[in-house]
Amino acid sequence: MLGAMRLGDDDADLMLRYRNGDTEAFARLYARHKAALYRYLLRQVRNAGVASDLFQEVWSRLIATRSRYEPRAKFATFLFHIAHNCAMDFFRRNSTHAEPETELDVSVAEAPEHLRPDRIAEFAERQSALLAALAALPREQREAFVLHEESGLSVEEIARVTDVPAETAKSRLRYAVRKLKSSLEETEEPAALPLRVRTI
């Protein structure tokens, strides 16, 4: 998760090398970030097929704009900014069914596949309680949390990626953490109970 962070930003060097035609450098860059990017998109759109399409779109955009790449910020910020834009474009294309801020309030008949409550419920059922709780968060809060977890971005970097003030990003992350922590505590409680009984 925080691997990219620990690696420092020789990512930028790899990207510059790729800009100059070194495709091996791209392969290394791709290997480093593909998992985090895929999971970011998957958590955003909650549909594996859509996530795969967007995943390809993000890399295609990166490849197409490589000649304009300048290492002004951390590479992950650059990559996830593209990903954020791709996801936003996707949501805009389906704008008549913009994702609800409060979860699961779209009717089955009107919603596109990725927003249908039954599909989201199905997606959540296949996951752990924590991932299901994450999937139920409002999109912006979910995004802030996943950006921090998957790519190790700071609050300021999350703000840059999502084009919002740092305070907004911080607030989103705070709410996400609070909700997920309480969800985690709820799911851990039944397991902790027999342990207490044994100690008595």
Binding site: Y30, K34, F55, Q56, L130
Partner: protein
């Protein structure tokens, strides 16, 4: 614990929430996506791209050269003339209708009239028509 403390604690890393998330978040892109992206990256190789205009220019130049070669080439040479021998034979066949003695008499007459050039020409034709004929010295 205040809300900012809760967030700061989380941001410092290694929180229970982060550990739980990392335990459960393992999805990876399917291999087919890996191949597609890496191929796209190779396809957009700037070295390969900079060669494309050169290849295109080379094709254009080659085509232009071929058109020029066709348009500016000298007109095709006429079919080679039939061998001289053949012409001689035809000429010979055409002239064998004239008897050697009569033909030589005509040549002699031309000389007498002072038409030496014409006589010499006729004499060459005679020799082609009757190469083995022994011409009397006075002719």
């Amino acid at each position: 614990m205040s809300v900012p403390d809760e967030l700061n604690e989380y941001l410092q890393g290694e929180s229970a929430l982060s550990r739980a998330y990392r335990r459960e978040s393992h999805e990876l892109p399917p291999p087919v996506l890996d191949r597609a992206v890496l191929e796209a990256a190779r396809g957009a190789d700037p070295k390969a791209q900079c060669l494309r205009p050169m290849a295109f220019a080379a094709c254009v130049l080659l085509s232009f050269a071929m058109v020029l070669a066709v348009v500016l080439a000298p007109a095709p040479k006429p079919a080679p003339e039939p061998p001289h021998v053949m012409r001689v034979r035809l000429y010979s066949e055409a002239n064998t209708a004239r008897k050697p003695a009569e033909w030589l008499a005509e040549i002699t007459a031309l000389r007498r009239q002072g038409r030496f050039q014409q006589a010499a020409q006729e004499m060459r034709r005679f020799r082609l028509a009757y190469p083995s004929y022994v011409v009397p010295s006075e002719e």
